[in-house]
C-alpha cells in the first residue's frame, strides 16, 4: 500500500519537489483476491455431494428419456421445440399462447424460494443453485488436479514451471469438457437429443447450434471456473433481498459468539475456563467457498452451505469441546442459548403459513387450469379494408378471418355461428352458407384452420357488437369471440 498523503500545502504554495506523483488517491476498485477453499468432509459436505449428484444426474438424464406420443410427434419426454412452437412435458403439450403455465411454474419457484428461505435460510444458494452445484464440481476437479488449498496457493504463487503448466492445462481441458457437456445437455432440452448429439459429433449441426454450444459452454466455464463466489456476491440479485425473507426463527448458519469469544489459539493442555471456545484456527474461513469469516455474523456473502460447520466440528472434537460452535440455528435460539433458556424450533409461523398457502393456491389454480383446459381456441380478425361492403340488395356485408386452433392430435369439426346481430347471414368461403345450425369448419389435428367468413345483415347502426361462437362438435365445448359488425 502507498503511504498516507502528506498534509495539504496551503493554497497557492508552490508544489514541493518531493511530490512527484499523486499519492493517497484511493482506487475506486478493489483488487480481486482469489478464494482457495479447503476441501472438508462432514455432514453438510455429504449432503452437498448427494444434492450435486442428484441434480446433475437429473439434468443430464432427463433429455434422453423417451415418451411415445404417436407418429410424427417428437418422442422426447421433456422438449421445448422452439422451431415447432410446442412444449412437451410427458403427456402435457403446451402451445405458445399457453406460456402462462411457465409463468405459473416461475411463480411457484419464487414462492418456494421464499418459503425455503424463511424456514431454512439460504438453502437454495448453498445447496441447489446451479452456480453452487457447478462451482462445486469445478472445484472438485481443481482439487484433484492441483491439490488442496495450500498446494494451490503455492502453485499459483510459484513460477510457471513445466509441472504448473501441465496441471493448469489438464484442469482447463477437464473444465472445458464438463462445460461442453453441460452446454450440450442444456441445448438438447430444445432439440431432439439423439439427433442433435449425432449431428454435433459428426460436424453436421448448424452454425447456430455450435454457436450456442460455445456460448453456454463459455459461460459455464467462466462462471463456475473463474467468477465463482463473485457471481453470488456481485451479480446475483437474490442475496440482496433475501434478508427480507429471514426472521429470528429462520434456521441459518451462525457462529455462537456468546460461547466462542473471546477467541484465542489453543495450546496443549490449556484449559478453556475464562475464555471462549473459538481457538481461532481459521478453518471456517479456509473452507468457505466465498472466503468470508462467519464469525463476523450473518452477511450477504454467506451462501449458507454449512461447510464451516463441518470444519469447526472437526476442530472442536479434536480439542475436546462439544461441536456446534458454528451451527445451523435460529437467531432466537442463539439468544436463548446464551442465556441458558430452553430453545425451540418454530417452523409454523405466520410467514411460512402464508407462503405455503400461496403456493398451494397457485398450484391448485395451475393444476385445475391444466386439467380443465380446452384443446381448441379461436381468433377472429375483422376485415379493415373495406370495413364493410354495400351489396346490391342494400344489405351490409363484413369480412372476417376466423382462425380455429385445434390443439388436439386428431381432426375435429367445429360449428361456427354468430350472436348479437339480428338476421345476420353467415357464409364461409369453401364451406357454404350457414342457417341456424351454423357452418361446419373441419380442422386437421395439431394445426390452425384459417377461414374467410362473410356476415351480411340489413344496414342500420354504424357499428354493432357481434360474437362468433365456435362449438366443437364431439365434446360440445364452445369458444366465444367478441368483435364488431361495421356499417355505413
Amino acid at each position: 500500500m502507498t503511504d498516507l498523503a502528506p498534509p495539504p500545502s496551503p493554497p497557492g504554495a508552490p508544489p514541493t519537489a518531493a511530490r512527484k506523483k499523486k499519492k493517497g488517491a484511493a482506487s475506486l476498485y478493489a483488487a480481486h483476491e482469489k478464494v482457495h477453499p479447503r476441501q472438508v468432509s462432514g455432514r453438510f459436505r455429504t449432503i452437498k455431494w448427494v444434492v450435486d449428484v442428484v441434480l446433475v444426474g437429473f439434468f443430464l438424464v432427463c433429455p434422453w428419456l423417451r415418451w411415445d406420443r404417436g407418429p410424427g410427434v417428437p418422442d422426447q419426454a421433456i422438449l421445448l421445440d422452439m422451431a415447432g412452437r410446442r412444449g412437451y412435458l410427458l403427456d402435457v403439450e403446451i402451445w405458445p399462447q399457453e406460456v402462462y403455465y411457465l409463468t405459473g411454474v416461475l411463480i411457484l419457484g419464487a414462492i418456494g424460494l421464499f418459503l425455503a428461505t424463511a424456514l431454512l435460510g439460504r438453502v437454495w444458494c448453498g445447496f441447489t443453485c446451479i452456480q453452487t452445484v457447478f462451482t462445486d464440481i469445478f472445484q472438485w476437479i481443481e482439487y484433484r488436479i492441483e491439490g488442496d488449498r495450500a498446494a494451490r496457493q503455492k502453485l499459483d504463487a510459484g513460477p510457471w514451471t513445466l509441472g504448473k503448466i501441465a496441471r493448469k492445462t489438464v484442469k482447463t481441458i477437464l473444465w472445458l469438457v464438463v462445460s461442453l457437456i453441460v452446454s450440450h445437455t442444456w441445448l438438447i432440452y430444445f432439440n431432439d437429443a439423439p439427433t442433435a448429439t449425432r449431428a454435433v459429433l459428426d460436424g453436421s449441426a448448424s452454425a447456430e447450434f455450435y454457436g450456442y454450444l460455445a456460448l453456454f459452454a463459455g459461460t459455464t466455464f467462466l462462471l463456475a471456473g473463474y467468477a465463482r463466489e463473485q457471481v453470488c456476491i456481485y451479480m446475483c440479485p437474490w442475496p440482496r433481498f433475501q434478508a427480507a425473507m429471514f426472521d429470528e426463527d429462520s434456521l441459518i448458519v451462525t457462529y455462537e459468539t456468546w460461547r466462542g469469544e473471546p477467541r484465542g489459539p489453543a495450546r496443549a493442555g490449556q484449559a478453556f475456563e475464562g475464555r471462549g471456545h473459538c481457538v481461532d484456527c481459521t478453518m471456517c474461513i479456509q473452507v468457505c467457498p466465498t472466503g468470508i469469516d462467519i464469525r463476523d455474523g450473518s452477511q450477504l456473502a454467506c451462501i449458507g452451505c454449512g461447510l464451516c460447520i463441518d470444519a469447526c466440528d472437526q476442530i472442536m472434537t479434536r480439542v475436546g469441546l462439544p461441536p456446534g460452535l458454528i451451527t445451523y440455528d435460529s437467531t432466537a435460539n442463539q439468544v436463548a442459548r446464551s442465556k441458558g433458556e430452553p430453545t425451540r424450533v418454530r417452523l409454523v409461523r405466520p410467514r411460512t403459513v402464508l407462503y405455503a398457502g400461496v403456493m398451494v393456491a397457485v398450484l391448485t389454480v395451475m393444476v385445475a387450469a391444466l386439467v380443465l383446459r380446452s384443446r381448441f381456441d379461436v381468433n377472429v380478425l375483422h376485415e379493415r379494408s373495406p370495413l364493410f361492403v354495400t351489396m346490391s340488395d342494400g344489405s351490409i356485408r363484413n369480412g372476417y378471418t376466423v382462425k380455429v386452433l385445434n390443439m388436439d392430435r386428431g381432426p375435429h369439426s367445429f360449428a361456427l355461428t354468430t350472436e348479437g346481430v339480428a338476421g345476420a347471414r353467415l357464409s364461409v368461403i369453401g364451406h357454404g352458407a350457414g342457417d341456424g345450425a351454423g357452418v361446419d369448419l373441419p380442422v386437421e389435428g395439431d394445426s390452425v384452420g384459417t377461414f374467410r367468413v362473410y356476415v351480411s345483415a340489413e344496414g342500420g347502426a354504424r357499428s354493432r357488437a357481434l360474437a362468433f361462437v365456435v362449438t366443437e362438435r364431439s365434446s360440445g365445448h364452445t369458444r366465444r369471440y367478441e368483435t364488431i359488425f361495421a356499417g355505413p
Binding site: P15, K22, S385, V389, S392
Partner: protein, 287 residues
C-alpha cells in the same frame, strides 16, 4: 518543456491551463480506451484496402473484395427472381381457373396478387377493393364488365375505354341533356323512374317508364337489370358508382361521366395479371 505543475491538494498534475483561477487537472483517459482507439485506426486502414473507400478523380477505389451495396441488392434480387421462377413458370402454363383451383398456386397467387394490387390498383380502387365514388368497389356483388375470372383478367389486360389498347372495351352513354335528346322535363321523369326502380317500389305507373323503354332499355335492360357486355350498370339495386340520389341521376343523364381504366397488359407481365385476377376475384365479389 516547462516544469510540470501539480495541484496542491490532490497532487495530480495539471494541464497548465487556467480559467478564472481554476486549473484543469490532467487525468488521462484509461489505457484500454487508447488501445481501442488505436485498434479502430488499424481497422480503418484495413477497411480502406478491402472495401470501397476513397474517391478518385474518375471514380472510387473499389477495394480488393469487390463489394458494393448495389451489387449485393442485384444479386439478392436475382436470387429472389430465381426462387419465384418455379412458380411463375407454372402460372404461365395455367389458366386463371386452374390457378384458382389449385390450393398451392392459389395461395401463391393471392400473396403475389395482394402485392401487385397495392402497387397498381389500390390508388383508385382502394385497399381491399373498397372502391370510391367513380371507382367501382371490387368486393361487392355487382360488376360493370363481368365478375368471372376471365372477365376480370380481360379487364385488367385491356383496360376500359383505354384508346391505346385495341382490345379495350368501350361504351358511351349518350349525353341526353347536353345534346338535347331529351328535354328537362323528360329527364326529370325518367330519373324518377330510375329512383323508383332502385328502391324496388312501384315504377310502372310513372311517366318515365315510356321514356326509359324508348331511350334506356337497349343498354340498361328491362327493369334496369344492366348489361355487362357494354358495361351498362344495373339500375335496380343499391349500388351506385356515382351518385344514387335523384340529383345525381339527373346529372348523369344530362352529361354522363365515363370511367377510364388503363390497360395493364403492356405494363404488367402476364403472370402478374393472372395473380391479380385471382386476387380480385377473391375480394368478395367474384362470380
Amino acid at each position: 518543456m516547462a516544469k510540470q505543475e501539480h495541484d496542491p491538494i490532490s497532487g495530480t498534475a495539471t494541464t497548465g491551463h487556467e480559467w478564472d483561477g481554476i486549473k484543469e487537472l490532467n487525468t488521462p483517459i484509461p489505457k484500454w480506451w487508447v488501445y481501442v482507439f488505436y485498434a479502430t485506426i488499424i481497422w480503418a486502414a484495413g477497411y480502406w484496402v478491402f472495401y470501397p473507400s476513397w474517391p478518385t478523380l474518375t471514380g472510387y477505389l473499389k477495394g480488393t473484395l469487390g463489394y458494393s451495396s448495389r451489387g449485393e441488392v442485384r444479386s439478392e434480387m436475382a436470387a429472389a427472381a430465381e426462387a419465384r421462377k418455379v412458380w411463375l413458370d407454372r402460372f404461365k402454363g395455367a389458366s386463371v381457373q386452374q390457378i384458382a383451383a389449385d390450393p398451392k398456386l392459389r395461395t401463391y397467387a393471392m400473396a403475389g396478387g395482394a402485392v401487385a394490387f397495392k402497387d397498381n390498383c389500390a390508388p383508385c380502387h382502394q385497399a381491399g377493393g373498397a372502391g370510391a365514388v367513380a371507382y367501382p368497389t371490387l368486393a361487392d356483388d355487382e360488376w360493370l364488365w363481368g365478375g368471372t375470372l376471365d372477365d376480370i383478367q380481360a379487364t385488367i389486360t385491356h383496360g376500359i375505354r383505354w384508346s391505346q389498347d385495341s382490345g379495350t372495351r368501350v361504351s358511351e352513354m349518350p349525353k341526353f341533356g347536353t345534346d338535347k335528346l331529351l328535354d328537362a322535363k323528360q329527364i326529370d321523369q325518367v330519373a324518377d323512374y330510375v329512383v323508383a326502380l332502385a328502391a324496388g317500389g312501384k315504377a310502372d305507373a310513372l311517366p318515365g317508364k315510356a321514356i326509359y323503354a324508348e331511350q334506356c332499355v337497349a343498354c340498361h335492360g328491362e327493369g334496369g337489370v344492366g348489361m355487362q357486355a357494354v358495361g351498362a350498370p344495373a339500375l335496380n339495386n343499391k349500388i351506385w358508382l356515382y351518385n344514387g340520389t335523384k340529383d345525381g341521376i339527373v346529372a348523369q343523364i344530362k352529361a354522363p361521366k365515363h370511367g377510364v381504366m388503363p390497360a395493364w397488359g403492356g405494363r404488367l407481365d402476364e403472370t402478374t395479371i393472372k395473380q391479380l385476377a385471382v386476387y380480385v376475384h377473391a375480394l368478395g365479389g367474384g362470380k
